[in-house]
Amino acid sequence: MQGCKEDSVNPIAGSVDVGSGDIGVLNYAYALEQLEAAFYIKVASAFYGGATAAEISILTDIRDHEVTHRDFFKAAIGTAAIPSLEVNFSSIDFTNRASVLNTAKAFEDLGVSAYNGAGYLLQSATYLELAGKIVSVEARHAAAIRDLLNPRSADFAGNDVVNAAGLDVQRLPSAVLAIAKTYLTTTVTANSLP
């Protein structure tokens, strides 16, 4: 961790590859958790106008969970961890409820699909279990955000993310990073992952 200390203070704006093998998958998860944590930190620093107590409570909880995930990955990966990433939230209107909640929904669904699609890449059962402990929390987030947007509808596990076989979305790292890059100034690649 000490080797990365300088990087974490000064996020890089260039390019970073997550690496290969299990460490590559963990760094990939760490990149996504950095993105989510940065988003919710900004959301919770000044809530959009008209945010209800329930919305503030949920978004604050999610911020705490994502920061926990981010900090956990950084510690667990240690010196092999990628540096802190520079985010680009210029497309998000943080004063607007629909903009914030729809972005949150997109991030949570993306996170679920990322863990679901990368689990098989892990060789270590310990890491797989850890990923499993986190992905179900991301899925809970996705359902809660979706319910805020469209209460008591089928959207919490909507047909846009759960198919007719009752299976949630899964995406390979390349597909996930292609979506995530809109929100990242740092170019993140996973050249050794599918």
């Binding site: 949920i58 909880d61 705490d64 969970h65 920061v67 926990t68 995930h69 900090d71 956990f72 950084k74 510690a75 667990a76 679920v112 863990y115 679901n116 699609g117 689990g119 098989y120 892990l122 060789q123 059962a125 310990t126 890491y127 797989l128 279990e129 850890l130 499993g132 402990k133 986190i134 992905v135 179900s136 929390v137 991301e138 899925a139 809970r140 987030h141 996705a142 359902a143 809660a144 319910d147 008591r152 509808s153 089928a154 919490f156 596990a157 909507g158 759960v162 198919n163 007719a164 076989a165 009752g166 299976l167 949630d168 979305v169 899964q170």
Partner: protein
Amino acid sequence: MNLENIYTKINEAFNKKNVSRRSALDGVAKLGFGALTAAIPLAIASNLTGKAFAKGTGLGNTSSATIIEILNFALTLEYLESKFYQQGLLAAGLIPGGDRTVFNQISLHESAHVIGLIGAVQALGGTPVAQPTFDFTANGAFLDVFTNYNTFLTLSQAFEDTGVRAYKGQAGGLISNDAILTVALQIHSVEARHACEVRRIRGEKGWISGTNSGGAPASIYVREDNYIQGGVDVRTITTVGATPITEAFDETLTMAEVNAIADPFIV
């Protein structure tokens, strides 16, 4: 954990209860097997042939036997959930009109999981476990499960949170089979979405805070107050408070723990 021993015990328990093959087929027929069987098992089977077999985890080896055991374990839980929601949706006056869309959606998913898992077991050359007979009153402990919405919701939360932890606990056992593991993960996150929604309908947080059971059996929430992840005491590496740390990680349950939770509901 010795899966084979545990599974033998499950089989013995089922045999004692004289669960017949016919009851499983009846159950499957009620789930719409005829309509869905053509499409869904194919979707999963195509995954199977595409990756698992290519990786050399095909029929006949030890790995496949263990995987079939895990899938049958999951199938039993999905039988329980799907039957629970079918009965709940049929119980007149139980689910308020405003919440029926939610439970219809959950019910559709659980039924699809049953059918998909049956297809997956068969695709691996195994025999799908028969559907048990369920007693959702748990021998009288929840007598008003289908007349009192609060009781129904409590058990719904109990089954969904158990399902999340059960799948998570078996992920390691599926690591040798990429396709099956991925399907299991895809079911796992759907159960988590369900759990969140039901918890929020109850007025609970969508995530599990410490070992707070919200009135559901406490055995479902053991170890949810864990702070040690991958050998790291998470409290020491983040400024986030202890309660949200426990919420940020869902924990596993072992097969034996899940069976002990489910057993009172199986006749």
